[in-house]
């Protein structure tokens, strides 16, 4: 390693994903926390910090306080972080900083949500419509969250000529990855024609440009690098992290094609001491098929407006220049509400441990990207093998 790591991921756990009606969100969280600690070769007595995200439905039973009570933990740090889709990257970032500062030694970050079982598809769409728009100046116009993201995609296509075919190729590649993963929620191969003939949701998004609605979650154990000798599994190091905010509500974005990921990834890559071209893979927050294209541009692997061509040239495939979301991502593996991006991070760690369930890359360093709100803020994490 070029530089001293920020922290180390010692253990991970992931629940069943997809349609999981037999587990509540709290059961998923408790199971994940216990399993991740065991995976690390530690005990719950070693845990002195707990971060969770809360959930939309079972928020009383899924707060960090409720989980600490249920496990009889006495953490020094105990926080529910309701910051939408980037809670997982934020909690790992904060955990690393607290461990580095000597305030805590081992922090478990966990998230699980079950919108598919608890709210069903229609209920989730309606609930999500209420969350992301300004209550007074945007929500009265009736936008669902997919339409807020569609405004970004439309502007990207107008400004740079990114095509619907290129966007559809993201959906096709991630489904191809998922088809090789026995745990993925959607495994039937699809073509660009299938994507472009799927029902229109909100222009330019068709159904197969939109991420899934799923149940599931997981946990990671973050600790200091000096605990490596105690670990059961191969350690995965957090080499760099960065955060950047832009706006909260989409109508306040200065430029709809600008992603704060350009700033957050610049900070994270600099800290890791590498350039974007040295990354072996990336896990983007693929809530909609256009978002990885904008993400590729933001991290600097290609220029502004060149993300569509980068995808079209085959670069995001497992044998391409920068494979993305090798498990299938939120578009095809699973997207369990607030813990959607979690599964992308867990996949990055499995890739680096050589524990992938499907596509296994020969990768030493990977980037995990997440956003909150509607491209409102971004956090980048860089993970690597020892």
């Amino acid at each position: 390693m070029a530089r001293e790591p920020l922290a180390v991921v010692a253990g991970i756990a992931e629940t069943p994903v997809g349609h999981v009606p037999e587990m509540t969100a709290q059961e998923m969280l408790l199971t994940s926390i216990v399993d991740a600690v065991a995976d690390a070769g530690l005990t719950l007595a070693d845990v002195d910090g707990l971060y969770t995200a809360g959930t939309r439905v079972d928020h009383l039973t899924t707060s960090s306080s409720a989980l600490a009570e249920a496990l009889d933990l006495r953490p020094r740090i105990c926080l529910t972080m309701p910051i939408g889709g980037m809670q997982f990257t934020a909690s790992v970032y904060q955990a690393a900083a607290l461990i580095k500062a000597g305030i805590a030694s081992t922090i478990v970050c966990a998230c699980a949500d079950n919108p598919l079982s608890s709210m069903q598809r229609e209920g989730t769409v309606e609930r999500f419509a209420e969350d992301a728009a300004h209550p007074e100046f945007e929500a009265p116009y009736g936008a669902a969250v997919f339409s807020l993201y569609a405004l970004i995609a439309q502007r990207q296509m107008y400004q740079y000529g990114t095509t619907e075919e290129q966007m559809s190729m993201v959906s096709v590649q991630l489904r191809e990855n998922a088809s090789r993963n026995p745990k993925a929620q959607k495994r039937d191969s699809i073509t660009v024609d299938d994507v472009m003939n799927s029902p229109m949701i909100s222009t330019p998004f068709r159904r197969l440009h939109c991420s899934l609605i799923s149940d599931g979650g997981g946990a990671v154990v973050v600790t200091s690098a000096d605990r490596v000798k105690d670990m059961l599994k191969e350690p995965v190091y957090l080499l760099g992290a960065g955060e950047s905010r832009h706006h909260l509500y989409i109508s306040q974005a200065h430029d709809l094609t600008y992603s704060s990921a350009s700033r957050s990834s610049e900070i994270a890559l600099k800290e890791a001491g590498i350039s974007a071209s040295e990354l072996d893979f990336a896990c983007f927050y693929d809530s909609y098929a256009m978002m990885p294209i904008i993400g590729l541009e933001a991290i600097g692997i290609c220029g502004s407006g060149e993300g569509g061509d980068f995808v079209e040239d085959g670069n995001i495939a497992p044998d391409g220049a920068l494979p993305i979301n090798p498990h299938g991502g939120m578009l095809s593996y699973a997207h369990p509400g607030r813990s959607g991006g979690w599964l992308n991070m867990l996949e990055a760690i499995r890739q680096l441990r050589r524990e992938a369930l499907g596509v296994q890359l020969s990768a030493d360093v990977g980037l995990v990207q997440a956003n909150a709100g509607v491209e409102s803020g971004e956090i980048t994490l860089i993970f690597g093998r020892g």
């Binding site: 309606e126 100046f137 909100s202």
Partner: protein
């Protein structure tokens, strides 16, 4: 932008209401195809309009077929009653 306590750019307090022309251009738009129960009808046009004076507003476009909308087209405000509110929406405007 929407009303706030102070200026987002210079952080000065004391913002005032000023009249604007009501004219602007479509910065981005989307046609929300599906009907959302109790909220919107099918094919609602959602847009961000940039006013001549600079600020952008979230809005609906009215008085135009969804397949005729384009980014950059000229629009003008058209106040529409929505239940108990009056909302500024926009319709096409030939310059």
């Amino acid at each position: 932008m929407y009303p706030g306590y102070f200026c987002r750019h210079c952080h000065a307090p004391g913002l005032e209401w000023v009249d604007v022309t009501g004219r602007g251009v479509v910065y981005s738009f989307t046609v929300q195809h599906r009907r959302i129960e109790g909220r919107t009808e099918a094919d609602t046009i959602l847009a961000i309009v940039e006013l001549e004076e600079g600020p952008r507003l979230f809005t609906n476009l009215v008085g135009i077929s969804p397949n005729e909308v384009s980014i950059g087209m000229d629009v003008v405000v058209d106040f529409q009653r929505d239940k108990d509110d009056v909302l500024p929406m926009f319709r096409p405007h030939s310059v």
